[in-house]
Symmetry: C2
Subunit: 158 residues, 2 copies
Amino acid sequence: MIPPDTSFPISGVLFEPRRVIADSRGSVLHYLRADSPLLPRFGEVYASTVLAGQVKAWKRHQRVAQNLSVPLGRVRCVIFDARPESPTRGRLIERVLSRTEHGLLHLPPGLWYGFLGEAPGESVILNCVAEIHDPGESDRLPPDSPEIPYRWPAPATS
Amino acid sequence: MIPPDTSFPISGVLFEPRRVIADSRGSVLHYLRADSPLLPRFGEVYASTVLAGQVKAWKRHQRVAQNLSVPLGRVRCVIFDARPESPTRGRLIERVLSRTEHGLLHLPPGLWYGFLGEAPGESVILNCVAEIHDPGESDRLPPDSPEIPYRWPAPATS
């Protein structure tokens, strides 16, 4: 077991390193197992992709934790804590997810988060959650919302 | 629901198309949910990658079904049925997994299978299985094994 990184300055956010087994043919990238406390039960696993220079933001889940991992590419993940009762309310962090430091980023519900594609082409983000997707369970804000103190780079024009 | 493709000539093998929701920023690619009969319980989800022109073969699982999906890249999957009791014993099929026809390829235990990376760079293969990985549960043969009537292309040299 690789120990979790507990240095995150937002309450409940955790980064757990995961094994990469690489050879000349490709890699095997561990992600989530049934014995992980980060996933109390299995609901759904899906992939999303973000193109180079593109932003997917902002989203907030009301009750479902996110378990993010990037098996290919490089994604900047920005997290903002606006939870009224949180000891880290008002804090914002950036974390890059890539093969360089492979692992799983756990976000408890209630946080705003968004992604920027930092690799050429398409980056892949895996997410495994404890419920089947329910669109009524999440909120959205536009990337340039004044409610969140973060400015994304202007998207690349095609 | 997209109906499953039941045209597979190997008994128990199934391809289920899955939704792709694409826009200018990237895509969302459905994969597996808790209500799928293809996954009786959650054991583990992981990613493997295969580089362009590289072969990962052959592997056979004794009791665990595989649920394969390729969110990025293009992978040729070759499957050989050597199960003694199978009505399709001796049959071999090739199936390409890519965004062009996104979905989930379900392989029951007992089949030999292998992969060839057909896209430039690295292709990603997701697998979600009903047990935590147990190396004693699978068998391997070299890519050029005479037991399987298939010749892979020679790997690209670097």
